[in-house]
């Protein structure tokens, strides 16, 4: 039997969705191992925290975890990368796992390299694909990630064990159809007090976080709408989305030009969105942007360059000046009445 651990994370009082996504993905890997090598894999969710909500543990089981471990200490109320990683390691040293998956959240990416460095093993960063392959008769974790600004995909294996990867949130879907209730255990953990790092203040970023997760429709603005002055078409598009009560996004180039803050940015270095409908206005389709929206269900692109890259990824292609379409939509939705 092999063991797979998932480092799960909390935000506020609840587990983040990426936790369940990874658990469900691990179950897929488990099924593959069973069918291809008749190999059993045990999936364990591991949380470093002061407490966990009972319902979240249930959800983790529904998503497919065999075990749920809480590495517990009251001191874990505030995140600290040194404390969290050494806590995980103290659990790991007593409970070896062959594979460890981490969510590629900012905090997950602070923990994972510390853990793998101590374990003297490899770590594949920010993966968007994960599978088992059989190589030389062994079951190997094959992690695929974008590199070179997402121009190139690389599939990476680890020579050392444990095999580890951080996985970008929203890459996989959580599936709460498991019926077997797993085992919950607590692992009390004492840690040295570490005064080298003090959190003086923590504030929510200026505006509310844009929630691309719940948006069914997103209209997105690209450099084609930029005019270097008042950028009236970007503003009009924004007003249309407010009127229709749908999501608004833009590309990195516009964020870099200071049009709106980076919380609206979709792409490799921004947010990932998978709405039912994504409409790209004047977006050429750099790989970096495509990486953030290509999994949308329906993609419509409007661009006056008929060879624009974005069309290759689109279900519907409209070769015209996006500004004309925005004018039309602006009229028809009555956005000008605002």
């Amino acid at each position: 039997m092999k063991k797979l651990a998932i480092y799960v994370e909390k935000e506020g009082n609840t587990l983040i969705d990426a936790s369940y996504e990874l658990i469900s993905k691990a179950c897929e890997l488990k099924a593959f191992a069973k069918s291809s090598k008749d190999m059993e894999i045990e999936v364990t969710a591991v949380l470093v925290s002061s407490a966990v909500d009972e319902n979240d543990v249930k959800k983790a089981f529904l998503a497919g975890a065999d075990n749920f471990i809480l590495i517990k200490n009251d001191d874990f109320q505030v995140f600290n990368q040194m404390k969290y990683s050494s806590a995980f390691l103290s659990y790991f040293h007593e409970n070896y796992h062959d594979y460890i998956l981490f969510p590629a959240t900012p905090t997950g990416r602070m923990i994972a390299p510390r853990v793998t460095t101590v374990l003297n093993t490899g770590l594949v960063a920010d993966c968007t694909g994960l599978e088992f392959i059989i190589k030389d008769g062994l079951l190997k974790l094959a992690s695929t990630r974008p590199t070179f600004g997402a121009e190139l995909m690389a599939t990476i294996l680890s020579k050392q064990s444990p095999e580890c990867a951080t996985i970008r949130p929203k890459t996989f879907k959580a599936d709460f159809r498991n019926t077997k209730i797993g085992t919950y255990k607590e692992f009390p953990c004492s840690i040295e007090n570490n005064f080298d790092l003090i959190l003086l203040d923590s504030t929510k970023d200026e505006a509310q976080k844009i929630n691309f997760d719940t948006a069914k429709v997103i209209f997105s603005a690209g450099y084609g709408l930029y005019d270097g002055k008042d950028n009236i078409y970007i503003e009009k598009l924004y007003q249309i989305t407010q009127k229709l009560n749908i999501g608004f996004a833009l590309t990195r180039k516009l964020v870099d030009l200071g049009i709106k803050s980076s919380q609206y940015q979709i792409g490799q270095t921004g947010m990932t969105a998978t709405p039912e409908l994504y409409v790209a206005f004047g977006i050429s389709g750099t790989i970096q942007h495509i990486a953030g929206m290509k999994n949308s269900k329906i993609i419509i692109a409007i661009n006056n360059d008929e060879n624009a890259e974005i069309f290759k990824y689109s279900d519907y292609k409209i070769v015209t000046d996006a500004r004309a379409v925005i004018d039309d939509l602006f009229e028809k939705t009555g956005a000008y009445n605002q």
């Binding site: 990368q81 040194m82 990683s85 900012p106 990416r109 602070m110 994972a112 390299p113 510390r114 460095t117 003297n120 093993t121 490899g122 770590l123 594949v124 960063a125 920010d126 974008p146 590199t147 070179f148 600004g149 121009e151 190139l152 995909m153 690389a154 599939t155 990476i156 294996l157 680890s158 020579k159 080298d196 790092l197 003090i198 959190l199 003086l200 923590s202 504030t203 929510k204 970023d205 976080k209 069914k216 429709v217 919380q263 409908l277 495509i290 329906i298 419509i300 290759k312 990824y313 689109s314 279900d315 519907y316 292609k317 409209i318 015209t320 379409v325 039309d328 939509l329 028809k332 939705t333």
Partner: protein, 259 residues
């Protein structure tokens, strides 16, 4: 006060060239300093401009041409430059790279107060080396840093941005800060700077100098291996529709919203 800035020479990712076989054509690509590392340099030079007795050492691992970015850093006002260069180091992954950098720091720049790095490299995008390096040196790290509010020999106060949150940390030195945001005032290298840089020179150390184990560096010392590399595939059926498409879009919006 001693500051180390780690820099990497990267191919220009905005100008990627491909061979006929769909491989990256590195020979055709211009190399430059990783953008985030350049920002780290500017933050370091800012600290130097404010306080007395600040010494900046710039450190890079790479082939000989990486001297270009070290000279650039010296010309901008850094005091000392170190290149770690050996064909044994080639193809090091993030763990092996971190081990090489950590050893060089322990051996040649042991009395540092702060290490500055870019948040990530533009070619690899892993953001793992700063964290791994901190772990090896057993120091505190603050990644995703958008502002160094203050820094002296003993304490660094740093603003960190994570998705929807801004944290302010006080870290006791020695510590590592990984920079994600540009410093508002850019320091440009001047011609006099380049002339001075020639006099300063670049210290160069190889595998033997660092007294590392063979199994710690390069392709042997890298636990990860690239199994395959490929360009993302697209297979979408695209339907072209009429220019007058606003009704079509609005209908789709409505249908999706009702579902």
């Amino acid at each position: 006060m001693d500051i180390i800035v780690c820099v990497k020479q990267v191919p220009d990712v905005d100008d990627i060239k491909w061979t006929k076989e769909n491989n990256l054509d590195r020979s055709m690509m211009l190399s430059k300093i990783n953008k985030y590392d350049d920002w780290a340099l500017n933050w370091a030079l800012n600290i130097k401009s404010k306080f007395k007795d600040v010494k900046i050492t710039v450190l890079s691992m790479g082939p000989k041409p990486a001297c270009d970015i070290l000279n650039y850093a010296l010309a901008k006002g850094c005091d000392r430059a170190i290149l770690l260069c050996d064909k044994m180091f080639a193809a090091s992954d993030t763990l092996a790279t971190s081990k090489i950098l950590a050893r060089a720091i322990e051996k040649y720049i042991p009395n540092y107060n702060i290490i500055l790095t870019g948040q990530m490299a533009q070619d690899g995008d892993t953001a793992q080396v700063p964290v791994s390096l901190s772990q090896l040196l057993n120091i505190v790290d603050i990644t995703n840093a958008i502002e160094i509010v203050n820094a002296d020999k003993n304490i660094a106060i740093v603003k960190q941005k994570l998705e929807d949150k801004v944290n302010i940390y006080e870290a006791r030195t020695p510590c590592l800060i990984a920079i994600k945001e540009e410093y508002p005032n850019v320091f440009y290298p001047k011609i006099e700077g380049y002339i001075k840089a020639q006099n300063k020179g670049i210290e160069e150390y190889c595998f033997e100098d660092l007294e590392l184990q063979r199994e710690d560096v390069g392709i042997i010392g890298s636990p990860t291996i690239v199994y395959k590399a490929f360009r993302p595939e697209i297979n979408k059926k695209t339907t072209e529709i009429d220019k007058d498409c606003s009704d079509f879009i609005l209908e789709l919006v409505q249908r999706v919203e009702i579902e």
